[in-house]
């Protein structure tokens, strides 16, 4: 029967190599499975031609915008503090998710003095309201009432 040489000083490296070994075996098994499948279907093993990572007509602006805004939000919390950074970035997330086209309507609403009759203007106002109400609400509830550490 197999034995493992147990030494306290190196015991932290007993299990990780075993798990890595299992993962390599599983990757090998998956490759074999794919090889058999592609051979049966008479297709190449690596097929990049019709492969798409993103959905059809994927929204580049919203996906990468979300990622970039999130990264900037983390940095901003260090610089501006939780409350101000949250109001700014939750507003920006709202504008991004509801459609940045609404921003184009703002100058028009001011020029024509239509304000709340203008859909884009209303949408931006809702974004701002949500950002302020929820940021202040969560800051107050968690930070002040429950004394939970906030950035």
């Amino acid at each position: 029967m197999l034995t493992i040489n147990y030494m306290p000083s190196t015991s932290h490296w007993i299990v990780p190599p075993i798990i890595m070994g299992i993962l390599v075996i599983l990757l090998f098994v998956m490759s074999i499975q794919r090889f058999i499948k592609t051979k049966k279907e008479n297709q190449p093993f690596i097929q990049l031609k019709n492969k798409r990572f993103f959905e059809e007509n994927w929204d580049k602006l919203k996906l990468f915008g979300t990622l970039v805004l999130f990264i900037l939000y983390i940095f901003a919390m260090d610089v501006l503090g939780f409350l101000i950074a949250s109001i700014v970035f939750i507003f920006l997330f709202n504008v991004l998710f509801a459609g940045v086209m609404q921003l184009e309507e703002i100058p028009k609403a001011f020029k024509e003095k239509t304000y709340f009759k203008n859909e884009g203007f209303c949408s931006v106002c809702i974004s701002l309201l949500i950002a302020i109400i929820f940021s202040v609400g969560i800051w107050f509830l968690f930070g002040e009432v429950f004394s939970i550490t906030l950035p």
């Binding site: 993962l23 260090d78 969560i138 009432v145 950035p151």
Partner: protein
């Protein structure tokens, strides 16, 4: 023994209410709801928090039936078969009746699973107390093989995800000798205790979903449905359940059993009970055309899951599904270890769980059954306005876990991106999370076992209880291989 007052009632109502909203909005799940509401529990003791968390769980599972019936879009994966018969009923003007049948079946399924939880957890925990490190290791290994067995047609990927989760959980210092492994030099301080569970699970289950929705443009669906009906014959009556007794018990039992198996989602419970209802039906051809039978099977099974998934968690420390995996986070936050000694050491909490689950099911029934016409409007909530608030909650939850550590917010983002990539390459996130939760214990019990045997691996094959668990492991692998082949043949 059970502390229940106005605060706990408010928590339960809040939990069920928010859970229903999350369940009713496609893309949002009970897991997501619990993950982002965990920070709210920092301020309360575990017993009070349980009313909120179990409320979110029950509400989140139950809310999924609303869009499934009204729009034929399952709100949660567990209501996948609800629309098969619910939507045709809604189309012929029986929407309210279908919703009320679903809600009643949900209550019965929930209560059935509660009884199972009450009956099976203490004896299972008693048996598990006799386990040595060897059996504990084997039980975790069994949990990982069951994940593979039930990743239908996707066995290797399921088990790969589970072991990858184990590997990621090992990053950081090993408790026995305090030595670091797999940690880059510049992250020695931040990763000393590894990645924290809460940011990992919020990232995997909340942020990933937001990235997926952002990719598809976060479109707001213009939901239209009709819940007004003056025809008395098309209204709900308790007579609609006539002849459904066996179906109710069978489906609730299937849901509960599927909940006990680690890594199995509600969708599997719902699909299995639906197919069984069809197999046993006197008129199988009617299922899928608006039959009460199909609706009852789906809804009683997915709520049966709730109590079932808590059984392995509270007796063995192994989460039954991704939602109960999140509950592990809640117990950890309060410094409570779930496992064989949980009931013995935390009798008050154990009774609170049973009571809270019962109360939450009743609140779910009351809040959904009578005002269903108004509750159904939640499916019209614009998700693009909710997601920014969820991002805010995610950040607060991740940051506060270690009393303010920005590295945990980066962890949240990292695992949000990893979860998104997983979804693209068909690696399931639930087995990864379960592997991540169990990884450290798996290592501890393995090392303890070989320490006790002087390094010999024979220790894993010498004890009778161990043989029993080996038999289960082999059976689950064989089942996995045959089931996988069958699924592939069906796909072909």
């Amino acid at each position: 023994m059970i502390e229940f007052g106005l605060l706990q009632l408010i928590m339960a109502v809040l939990g069920v209410g928010v859970g229903i909203i999350f369940g009713a909005l496609p893309g949002m799940t009970a897991t997501m709801a619990i993950a982002i509401f965990l920070p709210l529990t920092y301020a309360y003791d575990l017993n009070t928090s349980l009313f909120l968390l179990l409320g979110l769980y029950v509400g989140g599972i139950s809310g999924g039936l609303i869009p499934a019936i009204l729009l034929n879009i399952p709100g949660t994966p567990s209501s996948i078969t609800t629309g098969f018969d619910g939507f045709p009923m809604a189309k012929r003007g029986e929407a309210e009746k279908a919703l009320k049948i679903g809600i009643t079946a949900s209550l019965i399924g929930g209560m059935f699973s509660l009884a199972a939880l009450c009956l099976f957890t203490p004896p299972l925990a008693k048996l598990a107390i006799q386990f040595s490190a060897v059996e504990k290791f084997l039980i975790i290994l069994f949990a990982l093989t069951v994940i593979a067995a039930l990743s239908k047609g996707n066995m290797t990927r399921g088990i790969f995800a589970g072991f990858l989760g184990v590997l990621v959980s090992l990053i950081g210092a090993f408790a026995d000798n305090n030595h670091l492994r797999m940690v880059p030099d510049f992250l020695k301080v931040e990763l000393r205790s590894g990645f924290q569970l809460l940011p990992v699970l919020i990232g995997l289950f909340a942020l990933t979903q937001i990235f997926q929705e952002a990719e598809t443009g976060m479109k707001v669906s213009k939901a239209t449905y009709d819940l007004n009906n003056n025809d008395k014959s098309k209204r709900f009556s308790i007579k609609d359940f006539k002849g459904q007794g066996i179906n109710l018990i069978r489906s609730s039992a299937i849901g509960t059993f599927m909940g006990i198996l680690p890594g199995v989602g509600g969708s599997a419970a719902s699909l299995l009970s639906y197919s069984q209802a069809k197999n046993f039906s006197k008129e199988p051809e009617k299922l899928g055309t608006g039959a009460v039978e199909g609706l009852v099977a789906s809804e009683s099974a997915n709520n049966g899951l709730t109590g079932g998934a808590l059984i392995p968690l509270l007796s063995l420390g192994i989460p039954g599904d991704s939602t109960t995996a999140v509950l592990v986070g809640a117990f950890m936050l309060q410094g409570i270890q779930v496992g064989p000694l949980f009931i013995t050491n935390n009798r008050g909490t154990w009774y609170t769980i049973l009571f809270a689950l019962a109360i939450c099911n009743i609140i779910m029934f009351i809040t959904m059954f009578y005002p269903i016409k108004h509750i159904a409007k939640v499916i019209k909530l614009p998700k693009n306005r909710i997601y920014p608030v969820i991002i805010l909650m995610c950040v607060v939850g991740a940051y506060a876990i270690r009393n303010g550590n920005m590295f945990d917010v980066w962890t949240l983002l990292l695992f949000g991106v990893i979860g998104y990539i997983f979804s693209k390459i068909n690696i399931p996130s639930a087995p990864f999370l379960i592997g991540f939760i169990l990884g450290r214990d798996l290592e501890k019990y393995f090392v303890d076992s070989i320490k006790g045997s002087g390094g010999s691996l024979a220790c894993f094959f010498t004890r009778p209880i161990g043989w029993g668990i080996w038999a289960l492991i082999i059976a689950s692998i064989l089942f996995a291989v045959f089931d996988n082949r069958k699924a592939r043949r069906q796909q072909a």
